[in-house]
């Protein structure tokens, strides 16, 4: 099976120059792009739930909640974008857990490369996923009659904020992925933690009708803060304080969890 002559010839190839850390990171980014090509199903997973939610809430509950489905969609769409990005962050943790479980990271770690470059690749994959999923949801929203009053610029600002949110949330699942060897456990744990955050927020309904104790939680829930800012950015009228409040959680998560990731990874 093996061709010894060509094997020996292969040994004589000159060793290339050591690539830069950036080059290493870009290669891992390329891997993330290849994953989209080979596992297009992952996009289906990513967008089906938010599409179902959008249709369900708009047409079934929308009239009752906001007077008409059209008005409700206007309220709901920015929120469902936040929900999509927050839920999608689970995927990079699952991917990481799979890679670790399969021993792939052992190979990466035994290579003379910048040790954090595989994570840079995960982040590239995440950002692409967020962009693709958010674009699909927004397109469906536009077809159903959603109108971003702040125009293209508002939408671009909203997308930038979504990427920041996704980036911050991504660390939570990267840490989980490093700690937990089974991808499905990462997913279950992730959703256990995310469901209360997403549902006890102002994504679906205005917290005005909630009992006091719940409303107190909803008002400080980072997901609510993100949703409020995103509504402002897309609908116009976002204030600086709204944007700053929305960014507290992603920035804090990155500040705490990026060093944790490094420590966990190098400790293994």
């Amino acid at each position: 099976m093996i061709d010894t002559t060509s094997l020996q010839r292969l040994q004589r190839v000159a060793r290339p120059r050591t690539p830069s850390a950036l080059s290493n990171a870009l290669v891992f980014g390329w891997r993330a792009v290849l994953k989209f090509k080979h596992v297009p199903e992952q996009l289906f997973d990513l967008v089906m739930t938010p599409i179902m939610f959008t249709l369900l809430f708009t047409f079934v509950f929308g009239g009752a909640l906001a007077g008409s489905p059209g008005e409700y969609l206007q309220f709901f769409l920015p929120g469902i974008l936040v929900q999509t990005v927050v839920f999608n962050a689970v995927y990079s943790g699952m991917g990481l857990s799979t890679d670790l479980d399969k021993g792939l990271f052992d190979r990466f770690r035994s290579l003379p490369i910048w040790s954090l470059s595989p994570f840079a690749g995960l982040m590239v994959g995440d950002i692409l996923r967020h962009l693709i999923a958010a674009s699909i949801i927004l397109t469906i929203g536009l077809i159903l009659g959603y109108r971003p009053e702040a125009g293209t610029l508002g939408v671009l600002a909203a997308f930038a904020m979504l990427i920041t949110i996704g980036f911050g949330m991504g660390w939570v699942f990267i840490v989980l992925g490093l700690l937990i060897r089974t991808p499905t456990t990462v997913m279950t744990l992730g959703f256990t933690f995310l469901f209360p955050l997403v549902f006890a927020s102002n994504i679906m309904v205005d917290p005005g009708t909630m009992p006091d104790w719940l409303r107190a939680f909803v008002e400080v829930n980072p997901v609510s803060l993100m949703t409020t800012a995103l509504r402002g950015l897309m609908g116009g009228g976002a204030t600086l304080s709204q944007v700053v409040l929305a960014l507290i959680a992603p920035v804090a998560l990155t500040a705490i969890l990026a060093p944790t990731t490094l420590w966990l990874y190098l400790r293994r």
């Binding site: 093996i2 292969l10 060793r15 290493n24 891997r31 290849l34 399969k102 052992d106 003379p112």
Partner: protein, 335 residues
Amino acid sequence: MNDTSPMGLPATGLAQSAISARGLVKTFGKLRAVDGIDLDVPRGMIFAILGPNGAGKTTLMRMLSTLSRPDAGSATVMGHDLVQAPHEVRAAIAMTGQFASLDEDLTGRENLVLLARLWGFRGRAAKARADDLLAAFGLSEAATKQVRDYSGGMRRRLDIAASLIVTPGVLFLDEPTTGLDPNARKDVWGMIRGLAEAGVTILLTTQYLEEADQLAARIAVIDHGRKIAEGTSRELKAATGSGFLHVALADVARLDQAAAILERRLEHPVQRSAEGAELSVLAGTAKAANEALADLVAAGIELSDFSMGQPSLEEVFFALTGQPSLGESRKDDKP
């Protein structure tokens, strides 16, 4: 061209050593997985680490390939200190883990291109390198298939090819044939021999005695994190003693009784062959063997065959560790 020059000889007396380890220790909680192992592997040699599951083989490999930091002890790999210069060690080695470390979603070619780029091959050069490796490992036809559709043998070949993007000074192979069918195993053996001929130092772990016997110039036997013996296959067999009595029974049903008789007379543990109808035991002298055979005959146990000879590596292992090897091994590799 070489930034790190792993093949360059360092100016120390260890120049001829690919791996030199002293007192390596790794503990996990209370378990001393590796408990003070010394190792000297000369350049260009196939060196096998033999031991049962849980003996500490993988932990030792992980330490030597910089994946895990030793708790005590020191080692150099191709002249670079494991702890002080891990990056230089990584530039000089390649590691093929126990489970194929490949991206299942990507094609075989993409896996190799990915690694070639990480090593610094650019664009077309990376693709050319990947294609050359695929051709050398007989994987050209499967190049554009996703790795998830590969057979176990194909994965192993791709995995080893992935370790040869840049020719390593030392190639670590952790149980390279575990889980492979006999044909695929022979294939991997041929590949390992080919690499050794090309000058690559190979450190492999195995629980198959036949594998160590077939491939390795030297064998270290480890158990419970300690090295309990080291030498060539011939030396290990000689150290265990040459007076091994092998008997084959006509009636398999009387195996327990025969084993008990042999054990009582010869006062050594009796080992049963994988096939079941054969017993092997250290007799020491021909006289003792004769007496033991006489006991069997007196008990009315009929023998279909018997012989005296050198122990197989399996028996060596049994004598050293007091337990039969866990891997499958065959009896027909006796000298």
